[in-house]
């Protein structure tokens, strides 16, 4: 019902338009809000990342606590227990890297879910007509979508990494982690940034190819998971290890091993993997740019 006293009148806008508004942030915020609207997927996707962060943080905390306690007891038995514990659990840095790498896979799942529909849904609904009838450049649109998706990467990879690293920093005796293993901090930040940026680019590029979220999800899983599996099988059966370069997770594993100085895979060539990662990211960016251009202006 409409109140009889209420009359709708058109009021002219008396304000001014900003010279340099942060349009990508507006678009990113809208994308994040839409992504978080459905609570169940968000709960299911963030829970593993939270658990990983908690388990990682508790483990790191316990390692320092046990080590501290045993060394406090002194004597040969204390030293032996500490050494045995280190043999079983590994050192703190190795544990931090393990949990960061584990979080990265949960981040992949979350970013795929939240990112698959970001451009595909715009295409399906024709929402690009609404966006691009505003003074929004295609670069602004691209940035907005990237920032939105990277936020989900930050939630599922950046924050767990931050929690684990903070625990290591604050629970280490005499700030030993900060004094002796500070490089783990920036290396983790670098690894997480490259992971988030590369995965965001690839997910959005694949999302821009189709106009349904389900198709985009299929495409992302096909490109990342199925391709990784197929590349591993092909590389093992044909005994050509270079085929594994088609696998994004493999390249990230090699990159992480190289970055953190853990030579777990002697066959791997870190330079090749870095080039492969760069190709994934640049290829995704080129595809994304081409498709967004077509969404803004049709030739």
């Amino acid at each position: 019902m409409k109140a009889t006293t209420h009359a709708e009148v058109y009021r002219p806008f008396s304000g001014e338009l900003l010279e340099h508004p942060l349009r990508p942030l507006t678009l990113a915020r809208s994308g994040i809000r839409l992504g978080l609207r459905k609570k169940l997927p968000a709960f299911l996707l963030f829970t593993p990342a939270v658990i990983t962060a908690l388990v990682g943080a508790i483990r790191v905390y316990l390692m320092y606590s046990f080590s501290d306690m045993m060394q406090g007891q002194g004597g040969i038995s204390g030293m032996q227990v500490t050494t045995a514990l280190q043999e079983v659990l590994g050192d703190v840095a190795t544990n931090v890297v393990f949990f960061v790498k584990t979080s990265a896979y949960f981040a992949l799942l979350a970013m795929t879910w939240f990112g698959a529909g970001m451009i595909a849904d715009d295409r399906r609904m024709g929402a690009n007509l609404l966006y691009f009838s505003r003074p929004l450049t295609r670069g602004g649109y691209l940035m907005g979508k990237l920032i939105g998706l990277m936020f989900f990467g930050l939630l599922t990879l950046g924050i767990p990494s931050f929690v684990i690293l903070s625990t290591a920093v604050f629970s280490s005796p005499d700030w030993s982690f900060l004094r002796h293993e500070a490089d783990v901090l920036w290396k983790t930040a670098l690894f997480a940034s490259i992971w988030i940026l590369t995965v965001s680019t690839i997910v959005l590029a694949l999302s821009s190819l189709v106009n349904r979220k389900t198709l985009a999800l299929t495409l992302v899983f096909g490109t990342i998971i199925v391709l990784a599996g197929a590349a591993n099988v092909a590389a093992d059966s044909l005994e050509i290890s270079e085929i594994k370069l088609l696998s994004l997770p493999y390249n990230f594993e090699v990159f992480a091993d190289w970055l953190f100085g853990q030579d777990l895979n002697p066959e791997a060539n870190s330079t090749h993997s870095l080039i492969a990662l760069a190709c994934f990211a640049l290829g995704g960016m080129a595809l994304l740019w081409r498709n967004v251009r077509k969404m803004e202006v049709v030739g």
């Binding site: 709708e8 058109y10 338009l17 507006t26 809208s30 609904m125 024709g126 929402a127 609404l130 049709v298």
Partner: protein, 321 residues
């Protein structure tokens, strides 16, 4: 406002504008000047109306020719961005993101245009009120009726108070009540709030109710472009008569005086005088001589529908062998 100077009497101008989709020529050498005010872009489906709007916004690149809107060329990046600041576009399709609410969508698009957050929110509530979406503003657009979606699309086009509104089939899919509401809003914006409206439609009554000028497109060509008043002005030599008594004798006497009886429905006749500028006094003489009673006599006007149909039929005659 735009940096480049342009004739304030011409809002939109195209010169030899053409657009082809592969072998299909959507617009063909279009040269028009759109004056300020409410202008109807009328034509059957596939006439090239939506293509013209997208070309004006820079959403399509023309194959030939150029267009200017508020003095800016949409082919250049700067021109496109300037145009989009000054234009509100209501697309034809159902382009609303389903998970958003009316308030979120309109305020977000306001901010994308460059409004401050608080301005965008205030303005969003104002335009949603104006478009009669008060109660529905916090509901997801998925639950909106077609009429509400159309009004929401109008609201988003209005949020930054643009000087030009490009409305693509705003009454599409609306029931009579919704259509009336939408046309009232469009007419109010054009007549009372100084908005320049380019109303793109295939429905003639929509243009008749809201627009001062009309451009008729067919197969990518302009068939007609003039003010509604000029198109429907009275023909100098045609009259409508009411002859309640002695109509038969009156009609029989008309040819003797050289007057052509175009149509007759009982006591109402449509006649054409034999010569241009001839006085209608001859009709009173015929009535007097035939003993008929002439009750009313008024100059006959063409309806916009007559004009539209004759323009479209003229095209048909050109096309047919």
């Amino acid at each position: 406002m735009s940096e480049s100077s342009h004739d304030p009497k011409i809002l939109i101008e195209t010169s030899g504008l053409g657009k082809a989709y592969g072998k299909v020529q959507a617009l063909n050498d279009l040269s028009i000047s759109v004056p300020p005010g409410a202008v109807g872009l009328l034509g059957p489906n596939g006439a090239g109306k939506t293509t013209l709007l997208k070309l004006l916004l820079g959403l399509l690149i023309p194959t030939t020719g150029k267009a200017t809107i508020v003095g800016q060329d949409p082919r250049t990046r700067h021109g496109r961005l300037t145009i989009r600041e000054h234009v509100g576009y209501m697309p034809e399709g159902d382009c609303l993101l389903p998970e958003t609410t009316g308030v979120e969508l309109v305020s977000m698009l306001g901010r994308l245009t460059g409004m401050k957050a608080e301005d965008a929110m205030t303005r969003t509530h104002e335009v949603l009120d104006y478009c009669q979406l008060e109660e529905a503003r916090y509901r997801p657009v998925t639950g909106f009726s077609t009429g509400m979606k159309q009004r929401l699309k109008l609201a988003q086009a209005l949020v930054h108070d643009p000087q030009i509104l490009l409305l693509d089939e705003p009454t599409n899919g609306l029931d009579p009540k919704g259509r009336r509401q939408m046309l009232e809003l469009v007419a109010d914006l054009a007549q009372n709030h100084g908005k320049n409206v380019l109303l793109c439609t295939h429905l003639l009554p929509d243009v008749e109710r809201t627009c001062e000028h009309v451009i008729v497109l067919q197969n990518g060509n302009v068939k007609l472009a003039d003010s509604v008043a000029a198109l429907t002005q009275a023909d100098g030599d045609r009259y409508r008569l009411s002859v309640p008594r002695g109509a038969d004798a009156f009609c029989e006497a008309l040819p003797n005086a050289g007057v052509i009886l175009e149509s007759r429905e009982q006591d109402r006749c449509l006649i054409r005088l034999p010569g241009e500028g001839q006085s209608a006094d001859v009709l009173f003489q015929i009535a007097h001589q035939s003993g008929a009673c002439l009750e009313s006599l008024e100059p006959a006007k063409s309806s916009l529908e007559d004009v539209f149909l004759s323009a479209i039929q003229a095209e048909g005659e050109e096309v047919s062998p």
